[in-house]
């Protein structure tokens, strides 16, 4: 593979990693507050659908984005209701949300558009355009730096850059603000937060809602930037890959960037090569597709660096002395 080929692969990896990154950070907020969320997938899907639908009707991708976030937030609210207010099983709630999104996007999509669950293709202002960074054209000719800047970093939709910005932002919120301290505390020991006079319910809802907003970005990016419209089941397991990346990243923002980029890279390879010839061994593309999942299992098994989740994760908070 030559240098330009590598640039192309990396460029593609960045695009594919962006929805994973949004979803992974979404999961990070939720799980750091002690709420497991295997419903990321469903939220991405719901947002992808509603953002595409609204972008199509209004012709304005920003309204589409807003609608996507609202869709995702509604599912977040259900998850919050089930796991915080009614202290239900968070895993089961997540499973339900995934099915709900799978079903409702197609039911409503078919009723609205009659295209078998698709939305019509989005064009013009109904999609996120690609942004050319300043001087991109001017320095394209320079060796090494030119292609890296102009072809790899430049030319993405604004959501890609926003996603990258979310990483330091998340870090800052988590480790440098009062809210972050409380959020981390409520995922470790909610009783400590409660007896300190801070509302556990309020914090957890806040986290779940932030998770909803970020999943909304992930979904809107899928339908209005990466593709031009919604297709049935278009999230295609990304919510679960993001979950895998979260474990891989040990629930930390910067690691999350690394993990999602790695999984994006695997995806990019899989798309580009039907099969990969590695040292004379023929690696089927299906293996590449399965690799993120295999890696996650290996991580979970603790063979490569043990991942310790937040201690109160998955447990509803019940006051006790």
């Amino acid at each position: 593979m030559d240098f330009l080929g590598i640039i192309q692969i990396l460029d593609s990896a960045l695009r594919l990693a962006t929805p994973l990154l949004f979803a992974c950070l979404a999961g990070l907020f939720s799980e750091r507050a002690g709420i497991f969320d295997i419903g990321l997938e469903g939220k991405i899907l719901a947002s992808a659908f509603l953002s595409a639908a609204f972008a199509f009707y209004t012709g304005n991708v920003w309204l589409g984005l807003l609608a996507g976030i609202v869709a995702s937030l509604m599912l977040s609210a259900i998850h919050g209701l089930a796991s915080i207010t009614f202290r239900g099983n968070q895993l089961i709630s997540g499973v339900a949300i995934n099915f709900l999104a799978s079903g409702i996007t197609v039911v409503v999509g078919e009723a609205w558009f009659g295209l078998g669950g698709r939305t019509p293709s989005l064009m013009g202002g109904a999609r996120f355009a690609e942004i050319t960074l300043p001087f991109a054209d001017a320095i394209r000719g320079m060796p090494v730096i030119g292609p890296i800047y102009s072809d790899l970093l430049s030319g993405h939709s604004i959501l890609v850059y926003f996603g990258l910005l979310c990483v330091p932002l998340t870090w800052w919120v988590l480790y440098r603000t009062r809210f972050g301290l409380r959020l981390r505390a409520v995922g470790e020991n909610p009783a400590a937060v409660d007896t300190a006079g801070v509302s556990v319910v309020g914090l957890r809802y806040a986290a779940v809602m932030i998770c909803g907003v970020l999943c909304g970005f992930a979904g809107a990016y899928l339908a209005t930037a990466l593709s031009a419209g919604f297709v049935k089941e278009m999230s295609a397991g990304r919510g679960f890959i993001a979950l895998a990346a979260l474990i891989f990243a040990k629930w930390r923002p910067w690691y999350a960037l690394g993990a999602t980029f790695l999984f994006g890279l695997l995806d990019a390879f899989g798309n580009r090569y039907q099969s990969l010839d590695l040292f004379g061994v023929d690696i089927p593309t299906q293996f590449m597709q399965a690799l993120p999942y295999i890696l996650t299992v290996v991580i979970l098994a603790g063979f490569v660096g043990r991942a310790i989740p937040p201690r109160a994760g998955g447990k509803p908070y019940v006051k006790e002395r």
Binding site: T177, R182, A185, V193, T195, A196, G197
Partner: protein, 518 residues
């Protein structure tokens, strides 16, 4: 009845009038009145389940009272949540600490009382104040230390600092000495006296009479959800308080004949246990128990007693040798589980019956076979013989006076004492040679305590070897024929009950040997 009309007294830090609280059909607090004078240490004593903790939880906004009013500093105050309690100047140190284990001391202290939205300035300010407070009250804690690296005594100080940082005037401590060595408890009491002399009001919830006598100015006694008396500590005696707590004269001694030890049943040599975190919990235990003898193991909770029971009971891994009736017992491999131990004649009444000894959702009849479910009498062919289990359960309930005697009732619906009777009945059934008993009377009402103690002595007289682990020194003194004191994973000393006293045992429990023990 409380006089709802009397004017508030500003000299009172806290006044409670007619507080009532029910949980379903259980009335945890009935029309409670309490007056706590400013600048005093006020003890509240009572048995398990007397309603002390419920009352304090109401005061801290954990529960809402069904009726009654709370006056703080002479002002009627609503306490709907913990924040309101903090605002009213109340700080609480819970029995189980409410700390974030992987946060630093500083972060824990600041949590919930940050100044401003950004962390850094607020931490910087707190660091200074914390040093000041620590100096003022002799509480030496490193603000940057991570909680999980600290000992329990230090963690408790962090809890007190948390309250002081929030400028609490009233400090409530719930069973604060349960996890402390006597020396640590003394240190705590020094801190508390210092706080009182500064004008703070302290409420101490405990069931230990000695503590109440030592440190409080005033004592209130609770029994079955009611406040039965409030007296000046100087005017009362432990005997009187005990009677007020229980509602009748208490037999503080167990009648038993001197032991007639037979051959050695259990011999343990150099027994070591390392937990999953890699911490060595047992650091070379040697002990021997004879037939017809009760060996009491005393110690502050967390010094290896639980691990000793678990490794003998067959569900913790260890190294060393254990010999039962001159036969070596496997400590590793598939034959080292609890089932094999039972087959060899070791029965075990575990420390925590609700977590280990019983399946709380199983019915009583299902629980009587628990651990013995491989026994032929409970099986027929490939199926379990449920009829045999039911019959066995009914018989045991009759013999041990379990109430209500209903084999179909789930374990969780029995009282603590009756649950313990079910466990005890099950464990002594197969005539074991060695009986391991952990905290036999924890959470058990007085009536059942006497019954259980009698049973244990009766077993000894039948020639069983008994290993008794308890954190209650009174219980150890009353039942044991020999006493071994555990400290930091070792047996630090062995005494005969007739030749020692609680003072000496207390020093041993704190790890002090040599001239102190002489």
């Amino acid at each position: 009845m409380t006089a709802a009309g009397t004017p508030p007294d500003p000299d009172l830090a806290i006044e409670l009038r007619g507080i009532s609280k029910s949980f379903g059909p259980v009335r945890a607090n009935k029309d409670i009145a309490l007056r706590v004078r400013r600048g005093t240490i006020h003890g509240i004593i009572g048995e398990n389940g007397a309603g002390k903790s419920t009352l304090m939880s109401i005061l801290y906004g954990f529960y809402k009272a069904d009726a009654g009013e709370i006056m703080i500093g002479g002002k009627r105050t609503e306490i709907p949540d913990s924040q309101a309690a903090i605002d009213a100047g109340i700080g609480m140190v819970f029995q189980h600490f409410k700390l974030v284990e992987n946060f630093t001391v500083l972060e824990n202290v600041v949590l919930g009382a940050e100044e401003g939205r950004l962390l850094r300035p607020s931490l910087a300010k707190a660091r200074k104040l914390l040093r000041q407070l620590a100096d003022d009250y002799e509480m030496d804690v490193d603000p940057e230390a991570v909680i999980e690296d600290l000992g329990v005594g230090q963690q408790q100080r962090v809890e007190i600092l948390k309250a002081l940082y929030r400028e609490a005037d009233i400090l409530i401590l719930d069973e604060p000495t349960g996890v402390l060595t006597p020396a640590e408890a003394d240190h705590l009491f020094r801190i508390l006296r210092g706080l009182r002399d500064e004008g703070k009001t302290i409420i101490l919830i405990t069931h230990k009479l000695r503590e109440v006598m030592e440190i409080t100015d005033t004592v209130s006694v609770m029994r079955r959800g009611e406040m039965t008396a409030t007296v000046q500590t100087a005017d009362t005696s432990p005997e009187e308080l005990a009677e007020l707590m229980v509602g009748r004269k208490v037999l503080l001694r167990v009648d038993k004949a001197p032991a007639r030890p037979g051959k050695a049943v259990l011999e343990v040599k150099n027994l070591r246990v390392t937990d999953v975190q890699g911490v060595e919990r047992l650091k070379g235990i040697d002990l021997r128990i004879h037939a017809g003898e009760i060996l009491g193991v005393a110690g502050v909770a967390g010094n290896g007693q639980s691990e000793l029971l678990e490794v003998l009971g067959g569900y913790a891994n260890g190294t060393g040798t254990i010999r039962l009736n001159d036969q070596t017992i496997d400590l590793t491999g598939t034959a080292s589980d609890a089932r094999t131990r039972r087959a060899r004649g070791i029965a075990h009444v575990p420390e925590d019956r609700q977590r280990e000894g019983l399946i709380m959702d199983y019915r009583a009849w299902e629980n009587v076979g628990f651990g013995y479910h491989h026994d032929a009498r409970f099986n027929s062919g490939i199926f379990m013989d449920n009829a045999a289990l039911r019959a066995d359960c009914a018989a045991k309930m009759e013999r041990f006076d379990v109430r209500p005697p209903d084999p179909n009732l789930a374990a969780k619906n029995f009282s603590g004492g009756n649950q313990q009777k079910i466990v005890l009945a099950r464990e002594i059934e197969r005539n074991p040679d060695l009986l391991l008993i952990g905290q036999p009377t924890r959470g058990v009402d007085i009536g059942a305590i006497e019954f259980i103690h009698e049973q244990i002595v009766a077993l000894r007289d039948q020639g069983k070897a008994i290993l008794l682990v308890s954190v209650e020194l009174d219980e150890i003194m009353a039942l044991s024929d020999r006493i071994a004191v555990m400290f930091d994973g070792r047996i630090i000393g062995e005494r005969l009950p007739s030749e020692t006293d609680q003072g000496e045992l207390g020093l041993l429990m704190a790890g002090m040997t040599g001239e102190a023990a002489a």
